[in-house]
């Protein structure tokens, strides 16, 4: 290997390099090439190479997982010492590779996509900071540190979604994203407090030991698990905190690719996987996780069917796939969900980048304004197709292996309701993604001018897409190789029950549902659209309801935002008028009332408020005499 000295201590560097870049770029960016973009790319590339080196060393056996690095003391409060601790195990190594790899590809892609954008320093600095935050989440060995990375990502997603702040929609979307995830984060914050009180430590390994020792009430475990799940619901955009993700598409497409598909939202799933031992201790929590995940998955898939914006379709599909992953974790299907998290990262990022390529070419997001782009943008079409096949879980593409694993896990958990849910979602997924392919790439162009001007994207954008496409095709197969599978996907708790045999119909149903959805989507939306139009008339009310995302945004506005704003205004009024008046003017009014009921003018004339000292002194003397004689009685 190129590096001869021990690379383990360099585990620290993986999150630190992009973090350093994030600070250097705004300060020195003016003098750096491409406004600091290359520095950002270099930092991420270095992190990726280190992660790769670690992988190779695991591969040839010189490094054993799990491996913990000696923690660096940070500070201590009371008797507890907080440390910077890093750990390396299958889950974190896998995520580390994915995060650095995808981030690298997306930053290269951004060089092309964002070439004419202003404030590039801010853009690349935020991307670097975001990457370092996610890496901090992934490599931390304790909840407190994870929370730090978690919040850093929140900051960066705020900065990046609202990047194009000249558009009011972008600014609002950024605030919405931050505040909605903040609600979830309150749960996580409370979880941190609760975990510390009940378990006395933030460290994962110590927590697992204490949980396995037993003796904790199931109520306590459920509480901790559900509070953590609150943070997950926020970050991974599950119901009811999913509303920020569709709006977050206001950000530049590479940002959507990185943050909202491949990495940040997956942090919620990562957190659940990391807390697997905790969750497993509470059947109720697992139940809630699987049903929230499953329900969200179905809801989002339905929304995806009705949308007309290519990025929103992808956003809904992200929510839906994340729901599936949580569903899998909820039924003790650790391996399937983690694998799906990995494959999803690859093909979703690919789909977003390809969508960005399309948007860059036709300058619109609306799928009803595109059409027949496969002729003008062959590369983009091909990679998008591969991504779609992976998303729809058609064998042998990547998504098939992982989604099938999840379905197997659901079957083994004997949950027919959830199984049916999963199949429905699969079908819908294939349907809506191929609906979009039909409308965008195939058939006839809906607007001649746009079609004429569309052209393929420059190499700096297509090369990352092609690399990702390679993974969309092969990643599933690669990850299923037994040795790799065992390294990365073995669950922390071994469930003997999961060794049972799976009947063939499970997989066959999954494939047929996917193929069926794909077929239906292509059939309805390619070529002659009159079939669709007649169907649309029939289904219009339902379609409209789904198009408006079940009016959930409006519901939030009405039942949450308005009351809060009203409450704030009310309290402000209360503060100004009542409390202030009581304490300040109150004394004055009481004094006035008690002493006289006369107007200022009358009072002046009678000598009480004349402004003349002697009059005042007369009152004082009189009062003093009264007091004197009163007291002496």
């Amino acid at each position: 290997m190129i590096f001869t000295f021990s690379m383990i201590s360099h585990l620290f560097l993986i999150p630190i390099l992009p973090f350093a870049a994030a600070f250097l770029i705004p300060i020195f960016g003016r003098w750096l090439p491409q406004r600091g973009a290359w520095l950002s790319i270099a930092a991420v590339m270095a992190s990726f190479i280190i992660a790769l080196d670690l992988l190779l060393r695991v591969g040839d056996g010189s490094l054993l997982l799990p491996h913990a690095v000696t923690p660096v003391p940070w500070f201590s409060v009371g008797l507890y010492e907080f440390v910077w601790g890093f750990q390396l195990d299958g889950l974190s190594l896998l995520m580390g590779l994915i995060v650095t790899g995808v981030s690298l590809l997306i930053q290269i892609y951004s060089l092309g996509y964002m070439s004419d954008a202003p404030r590039l320093k801010q853009y690349f600095a935020s991307l670097s900071l975001f990457t370092s935050g996610m890496l901090l989440v992934v490599f931390s060995d304790n909840y407190f540190q994870l929370f730090i990375g978690w919040e850093l990502m929140g900051l960066c997603s705020y900065l990046l979604i609202g990047y194009d702040w000249d558009r009011e929609a972008a600014g609002k979307a950024a605030v919405k994203a931050f505040l909605t995830t903040r609600i979830g984060d309150l749960g996580f914050y409370a979880a941190l407090l609760t975990i510390f009180i009940i378990l006395g430590t933030f460290n994962f390994v110590q927590i697992e030991e204490r949980l396995l020792d037993g003796g904790l009430s199931s109520w306590a475990i459920t509480l901790m698990a559900l509070l953590i799940f609150g943070g997950v619901v926020g970050k991974s955009a599950q119901f009811p905190l999913h509303v920020w993700l569709p709006d977050a598409m206001e950000g530049p497409t590479p940002v959507s690719a990185l943050i909202h598909s491949a990495t940040m939202v997956a942090a919620g799933v990562y957190l659940t996987a990391r807390s697997y031992v905790l969750f497993s201790g509470s059947p109720m929590a697992m139940h809630i996780v699987s049903w929230v995940g499953g329900g969200t998955s179905l809801m989002a898939a339905l929304f995806g069917v009705a949308t007309r914006d290519i990025k929103r379709m992808l956003a809904f599909s992200t929510i839906s796939q994340l729901g599936l992953m949580l569903l899998g974790l909820g039924v003790s299907g650790y391996s399937g969900s983690v694998m799906h998290m990995a494959t999803h990262a690859a093909f979703k990022a690919l789909l977003f980048l390809a969508a960005g390529s399309v948007i860059h070419a036709v300058h619109t997001n609306d799928i009803w304004k595109m059409g027949s782009l496969s002729k003008q943008m062959a590369v983009t079409f091909t990679v998008f197709l591969f991504g779609a096949l992976a998303l729809a879980a058609i064998p042998p593409f990547a998504g098939f292996f992982s989604k099938d694993k999840i379905i197997e896990n659901i079957y083994l958990a004997h949950q027919p309701g959830l199984l049916a849910l999963a199949y429905s979602v699969s079908g819908l997924t294939a349907f809506y993604v191929f609906r979009v392919i039909g409308l965008v790439f195939l058939g006839q162009p809906k607007e001649r001018d746009r079609f004429a001007h569309a052209h393929e994207s420059p190499w700096v954008m297509t090369i990352p897409m092609i690399i990702l496409a390679f993974f969309a095709v092969s990643f599933g197969w690669i990850l299923s190789r037994p040795s790799i599978f065992e390294t990365f996907f073995s669950a922390p708790l071994h469930h003997a029950a999961l060794e049972a045999a799976i009947p063939a119909w499970v997989m066959i149903t999954a494939i047929s549902v996917a193929v069926g959805g794909m077929g239906l989507g292509l059939f309805l939306y390619t070529g002659d659209l009159t079939r669709v139009e007649s169907l649309a008339r029939v289904f219009h009310p339902i379609h409209h309801f789904l198009f408006r995302q079940a009016y959930l945004d409006e519901a939030y506005e009405l039942f949450l935002l308005r009351p809060v704003r009203g409450l704030a205004a009310g309290l402000d009024w209360f503060d100004r008028q009542i409390i202030d008046r009581i304490f300040v003017d109150g004394f004055k009014t009481i004094a006035d009332e008690l002493l006289s009921r006369r107007t200022p003018e009358e009072a002046t004339a009678s000598g009480e408020r004349s402004g003349r000292i002697q009059n005042y002194l007369m009152i004082v003397t009189f009062a003093a005499l009264v007091l004197l004689f009163w007291n002496s009685h």
Binding site: S76, E151, L152, L155, D166, V175, L193, I197, A568, I579
Partner: protein, 481 residues
């Protein structure tokens, strides 16, 4: 010797200023800056020379002052006071830099300011209750003039309200002090003596003492419902005074509570802890909600101060190591961060003479460096990890959470975190990250003076966020010992 030097050097500086003709404004500014810088250096020297192993008061100076009443001139510093003093001297220096922009009656301004600085430092260093009271009251008069002469449209009203409110509270403290004087055997105001006797005082007496002290501190902190003077005072005060008010004066209340309130009436404090927690949570949630409803940026930040001091009160009410660490950390962090926020709002106000959020838009485009600073300050204030504010908040919550009875309340307090994020982000969007308005096309970015004033605060906020041991280790040791 060093403590007296530290305390009275600014006053001596004020005396020196008297001799400088009022027309020589630059000399006045220069001398004031030098005086405050030297004071800051002295406090820094003191910090580096404090022995970490010592749990008691260091650099003690004790001289008999009025023997008949057992009043001593008694100064001493420990880990808690040193941070307050550091904060005071640093913020004073920065406020003075920021005050270079004042054009009207410069000489009086700086004389009052240096007098104020002496009073603040003295309050943090005194260990004799009478002396503490003297310094406490001594802050009122310069503040009254500073707000009343150099303030905004309603400055006289704000100044009088501030003065009367604080004075009203102080009267209760005076009664408590006198009561303690008569109660204790030695008939003294010496804090170290009183502390040893405090535990034996009867419960009802302790309750009266506690409430007497607490009312005074509650006005300063400011705790609900005695907080209404703060928004007005902040809005009407000139920028440097807002910085000092938020950064230091509010801390005097919290410091007083920690140093005197809890120690001189321990039984009462423990009984009242629940009430304190309730008040703290009200501060947190009520303060942040009211901030959400504001249109004036300074008033919004004033309410956010009320909210943040609620965290401090929560940490103090918890009365355990974590709570105290959190409270002190939050006190320092809030002083730095809110000081920076007020300076930044002042930057905009100096250029546009309005603070109404609705009047702005698109400032991010015109003033990128300023936006960056404001972004950092806002996120520090709402508790982003790796900046100082987060650790303070977190440990206040953790400290309070450890007490079973307070858990529900503390959980409600978490809402404050959400609402704080809401109003800061909404402010950022309305003022900075929105389509630009044509009135503001030619706003210049921050000039050197403004940058020099703000950057140290932000840098320290980052430093303390990354390396909190500077602050926490000594405090932890002090409480463990």
């Amino acid at each position: 010797m060093i403590l007296s030097l530290l305390t009275f050097f600014p006053l001596v500086g004020a005396g020196a200023l008297l001799f400088i003709p009022r027309s020589k404004e630059n000399i006045l500014r220069g001398v004031t800056f030098v005086v405050s810088a030297i004071t800051c250096l002295i406090s820094f020297w003191l910090w580096t020379h404090m022995s970490p192993m010592h749990n008691d008061f260091q650099f003690v100076e004790k001289h008999m002052w009025v023997p008949r009443f057992g009043i001593h001139y008694f100064l001493g510093v420990d880990t808690l006071s040193i941070w307050m003093v550091l904060l005071t001297t640093l913020l004073s220096m920065i406020a003075i830099i920021s005050a270079f922009g004042i054009e009207h009656r410069v000489k009086e301004f700086f004389i009052f300011f240096l007098t104020l600085e002496t009073a603040m430092i003295g309050a943090f260093l005194s260990l004799d209750l009478f002396l503490f009271y003297v310094f406490w009251e001594m802050t009122l008069i310069p503040m009254y003039f500073l707000i009343g002469i150099w303030g905004g449209p309603r400055k006289e009203y704000a100044a009088i309200k501030f003065f009367l409110f604080t004075f009203f509270g102080s009267v209760f403290m005076l009664v408590a002090l006198i009561a303690m004087y008569f109660q204790n055997n030695a008939h003294t105001f010496d804090f170290t003596v009183l502390v040893t006797q405090a535990a034996q005082w009867p419960r009802s007496f302790q309750l009266w003492i506690f409430w007497g002290l607490f009312i005074a501190f509650a006005v300063k902190i400011p705790a609900f419902p005695l907080h209404t003077w703060l928004p007005l005072a902040h809005v009407e005060a000139p920028t440097p005074i807002s910085v000092i008010l938020a950064g230091v004066l509010l801390k005097m209340g919290a410091y007083g509570l920690m140093r005197f309130g809890l120690t001189l009436a321990p039984m009462a404090a423990r009984e009242m802890a629940h009430t304190l927690t309730v008040i703290a949570v009200i501060n947190i949630v009520y303060g942040s909600l009211c901030a959400l409803a504001q249109k004036d940026m300074k008033r919004m930040i004033a309410y956010s101060s009320i909210s943040h001091m609620g965290y401090v009160l929560l940490g103090i009410a918890a009365m355990d190591v974590m709570g105290f660490c959190g409270a002190v950390m939050q006190m320092v962090a809030h002083g730095l961060i809110t000081g920076a926020l007020f300076l930044l709002v002042g930057v905009l106000y100096d250029r546009t003479h309005t603070r109404d959020m609705d009047a702005f838009g698109g400032i991010g485009e015109r003033m990128p460096f300023y936006t960056g600073c404001m972004l950092m300050a806002c996120f520090a204030s709402l508790g982003l990890p790796l900046l100082a504010g987060f650790l303070g908040e977190f440990f206040c919550f953790l400290g309070a959470f450890q007490i079973e009875a307070f858990r529900g309340l503390t959980a409600v307090g978490l809402l404050g975190v959400l609402f704080t994020a809401a109003f800061f982000l909404l402010m950022l969007r309305r003022v900075f990250f929105s389509p630009a308005r044509k009135e503001w096309t030619h706003l210049p970015d921050m000039n050197a003076r403004e940058i020099i004033a703000v950057l140290p605060l932000l840098a320290l906020a980052l430093l303390l966020g990354l390396y909190p041991s500077l602050l926490l280790n000594p405090i932890t040791q002090a409480f463990n010992g």
